[in-house]
């Protein structure tokens, strides 16, 4: 090997000073470029629009929609944190009866598509819905509080999205060093003071990264807000695409959404601070002890029960009811092996691809902070805040015109999933990297290991829980994804989600209920694995 090639090799893999190894930043750069496809496309389309765009954007209606969207984002995020932090603590760090079963069950709403949940909320809690019918027959009640508009949208999205926070906070709680809590108690602090002054600050990165996911998801949701008639920005964008058949106006409004997402990201970045979250001493953390609930056990069980009743029992029973009614009315039970297999394949491949794409981004963000890492990390979150249809059309545009061989193949669909869902993967990996003491890596390097082997033999094994939750999150999101799957999937590529949509859009509820139940069942397997792993 010549000296110069040796030099190049060492540059490629080494970490001279504070610069990341070239391999890491080059892959990071490639990931960033792929993720910029959507915003670039939106700019191209907006530039092609006429003056109509300005008429459309500068109206009081847009400001109102903006305000409504922000209200929903803030309140849903707050609601999710308020539900998920106590739920996580109860199922990870206390002796709550059947806590592992609770842990799996309360995370399950994550797998219910919002277009299904929104419809069920209307059917169950609407003005003449199931609850009202029941109350009317029992107590003669003929009016329920209005569900349409903000209350229904808030309720649906909060009870669908709190599991995002559950996952991040649960992971952090299970890895938290119990000695910190014990020291606090030993120093005479009460349990509430310990929670407030020790546990909560340590959970901050997990809460913000979960909250960020909820906020961005709420920005991008269409299913729930359209069914519950709360006009958000994404709703306005869909209306442009759906009824206006207008790509330019839809693109212009999507750019405003990108700006909102960047604003939210800016707030999240500002709140991060410079704290360290890893254990300072070497050695293995002991498994955490469980707090005794004592007589608080019953209120705690009640709390879990109420959340579960609204978020899972209600939608699942409506689906079971539809399925049974349809089958007893002679509806044929269609075999869904094909769609189920397609969902699994797409979800699995996308999870792998997204974890690989997220790794360099998370490494750069945690170990090599700087302008490049910051920009890159923010870019990865844009896709999650955009409506699926905007991202899908961006990839149609690039795929059909510049990458014809992979157009309408599984490969391009997987790329779309990565663009849409790499954000939660980056979040999960980043949180778990933050808990790894960099001195472990430094020690390995000082013993002569090249950086990429340190990554493979030290960092990645320690980050395993984060990798698992990143993969599981992406898998679950892909399982219920609709617009990109429909537009970009290879011809004839039906998934469980597209099967549900096809049936529900034609009012065949019985035919929609069976794949919806199957979707929940299939998704619950990786979710159960993940939740149980977090709890030892």
């Amino acid at each position: 090997m010549t000296t110069s090639s040796r030099l190049i090799l060492s540059r490629l893999f080494s970490n001279a000073g504070r610069h990341p190894p070239a391999l890491v930043w080059l892959t990071g750069l490639a990931v960033g470029a792929a993720l910029l496809l959507a915003p670039v496309y939106l700019l191209v389309r907006t530039a092609g629009a006429g003056t109509e765009v300005w008429d459309l954007l500068f109206r009081t209606r847009v400001l109102e929609t903006l305000a409504r969207t922000l209200l929903l984002v803030v309140s849903v995020t707050a609601g999710c944190i308020a539900l998920a932090v106590p739920l996580s603590w109860l199922t990870v760090r206390t002796d709550l009866p059947w806590r592992k079963a609770w842990a799996v069950a309360i995370a399950l709403p994550l797998v219910i598509p919002s277009y299904v949940a929104g419809f069920i909320v209307v059917v169950a809690l609407g003005p003449k819905g199931m609850l009202q019918q029941l109350l009317e027959s029992l107590f003669g009640l003929n009016r329920l509080p209005e569900i349409y508009g903000f209350p229904g949208a808030w309720l649906t999205l909060t009870f669908l999205s709190y599991p995002y926070v559950l996952l991040t906070v649960g992971g952090a709680l299970s890895r938290m060093d119990p000695s910190l809590v014990e020291s606090s108690r030993g120093l005479g602090q009460g349990s509430w003071a310990t929670f407030r002054r020790v546990v909560l600050p340590l959970l901050r990165p997990a809460i913000t990264s979960g909250g960020l996911l909820v906020a961005l998801y709420t920005l991008s949701d269409f299913g729930a807000v359209s069914l519950l008639r709360y006009e958000t920005f994404t709703w306005a964008i869909f209306v442009q695409y759906e009824s206006g058949l207008d790509r330019t106006l839809g693109a212009a409004l999507s750019l405003v959404l990108v700006a909102m997402a960047l604003g939210i990201l800016g707030m999240e970045f500002a709140s991060r601070g410079r704290s360290r979250y890893y254990r300072s001493d070497p050695g293995v953390p002991r498994p955490p002890g469980l707090a005794r609930l004592g007589r608080w056990r019953w209120p705690a069980l009640g709390f879990c029960g109420v959340v579960l009743a609204i978020s899972l029992v209600l939608p699942a029973s409506v689906l079971v009811y539809w399925a049974i009614r349809g089958i007893s009315a002679g509806e044929p039970l269609v075999l869904l092996w094909g769609p189920a297999r397609n969902s699994l394949v797409a979800g699995g491949l996308a999870a792998l691809a997204a974890v690989f794409a997220a790794l360099p981004v998370a490494v750069l963000a945690v170990r090599y902070p700087g302008a490049f890492s910051t920009v890159l990390e923010r870019i990865t979150h844009i896709g999650f805040a955009l409506p699926g249809i905007a991202v899908a059309l961006a990839l149609v545009f690039f795929g059909a015109n510049y990458a014809t061989p992979i157009y309408q193949t599984l490969g391009l669909l997987i790329l779309a999933y990565v663009v849409l869902f790499v954000s939660p993967a980056v979040g999960a990996l980043r949180t778990s990297f933050l808990q790894i003491n960099p001195r472990l890596e430094e020690a390995a390097r000082s013993l002569g290991r090249p950086p990429w082997r340190v990554l493979a033999s030290i960092t990645l094994p320690l980050a395993k829980p984060g990798i698992a939750s990143a993969a599981a999150l992406v898998f679950l999101l892909v399982m219920k994804e609709l617009p990109a799957t429909v537009v970009l999937g290879p011809v004839g590529f039906n998934t469980l989600a597209t099967t549900i949509w096809a049936a529900a859009s034609e009012a065949f509820f019985a035919q929609a209920a069976v794949p919806a139940l199957l979707l929940i069942l299939v998704s619950s397997i990786p979710l159960a694995f993940l939740m149980l792993r977090q709890r030892g």
Binding site: L56, R61, T65, V122, G126, P127, K128, G129, Y148, L227, R229, W235, A236, V239, Y241, E242, S243, G244, L245, D246, R247, G326, A329, L349, L352, A353, I389, A392, L393, V396, F397, A400, N401, T404, P405, I406, Q408, T409, L410, G411, L413, I414, A456, S457, L460, P461, V486, V487, P490, V491, G492, T498, A502, A503, A504, S505, E506, A507, F508, F509
Partner: protein
């Protein structure tokens, strides 16, 4: 740690390569690629019948009509599609410049009002606009003879509609054509003054009329028949066609066109011919509860015959111009 890592990378690459092997533009003569804005549940069996009868292999991409129209526009000349099968004339009109003129023997099989005057697309089935009403709250005699009169204050709080829905907008296009802009604007404002409930599309409107959440809704006729099929004849809602005719009683079409870039036009024409055959038209009549458009095919006995609906007879062309309707809806605050 190293080997599982490599295995995963290899699997991933293999999967992407395998996934990529299906691409490429233009189907061979024995194959057709169809973009269908109509759902698989409705037209899938019919397309299968075509394949069985002709031996032509069909690949169908199912999605919403607007998504497919947008997809076609983004794909441009590189589209793999031979045929665009759309829910409504608006979707077809949006991509009209990408379609090729159809032969007269196809266009001639439907009434002149049911196809495009440029001959670029043809209606394959008809759908009526209708007022769906709750039979426990109302009888047909309570309903006005013209949809215009729903702006009367007595209808306050009783109406459901879906201003973002394509079919609703087609009806507004008909209103502009028959009533003119001013009267249409007055109607839109009048209905808004009656505090209607807004829904995203037709299905939830019919569900809401059935549950009694609202008393009347402006929808397409066939949604009701699907509810009747699933819930039984006891479902307390029925359709009403405004007796004085006008824009509330228009007949719209779902139709199809052939892409200019299609490599096998003759097979595509055979497909359209099949869709207008006795077999296919009867399928539309009895499975999707739509109106057959080809001569001599009987309407489903559960439907009001076309001859009894006072259809103002607007051509499909007149109903496809969404631009002006969008502007009006935006001015009246119904669209963002």
């Amino acid at each position: 740690m190293k080997r599982p890592f490599l295995t995963i990378v290899a699997t991933l690459i293999l999967a992407v390569v395998l996934g990529c092997s299906g691409g490429g533009k233009g189907s061979s003569p024995g194959e057709l690629t169809i973009y269908s804005g109509r759902s698989e549940a409705l037209v899938g069996p019919l397309i299968d019948q075509f394949s069985e009868a002709t031996g032509v292999k069909t690949s169908v991409k199912y999605a919403g009509t607007p998504q497919l129209a947008a997809t076609l526009l983004e794909e441009g000349d590189n589209t793999p599609a031979d045929i665009f099968f759309a829910q409504d004339p608006g979707g077809l009109a949006a991509v009209e410049q990408m379609l090729t003129r159809l032969p007269d023997d196809i266009l001639g099989r439907v009434p002149a009002w049911a196809s495009s005057s440029t001959g670029k697309w043809v209606g394959l089935s008809g759908r009526a606009r209708t007022v769906v009403y709750n039979t426990e709250a109302l009888t047909e005699s309570d309903l006005p003879s013209d949809i215009y009169h729903f702006i009367d204050p007595e209808w306050r709080g009783r109406i459901g509609w879906a201003p973002t829905n394509a079919s609703f907008q087609t009806m507004v296009t008909a209103m502009r054509s028959i009533w003119g802009e001013e009267k249409t604007g007055k109607w839109l404002e009048g209905i808004q003054a009656n505090q209607p409930k807004t829904y995203p599309k037709n299905t939830p409107i019919v569900a809401a009329v059935g549950s009694g959440e609202i008393e009347v809704g402006f929808v397409n006729h066939y949604y009701l028949h699907r509810f009747l099929a699933e819930e039984g004849e006891g479902f307390p809602a029925r359709n009403y066609h405004p007796q004085a005719g006008g824009p509330g009683a228009i007949i719209m079409v779902a139709g199809a066109g052939i892409l200019e870039g299609s490599g096998n036009r003759s097979t595509a024409e055979r497909f359209l011919g099949f869709m207008l055959s006795q077999v296919a038209q009867e399928f539309f009549a009895n499975k999707t509860f739509e109106y057959p458009l080809a001569e001599g095919v009987a309407v489903n006995p559960g439907l009001v015959p076309l001859s009894e609906i006072p259809n103002p007879g607007l051509s499909a062309d007149k109903l496809s111009g969404v631009k002006g309707t969008q502007q009006l809806l935006r001015q009246t605050g119904l669209l963002p």
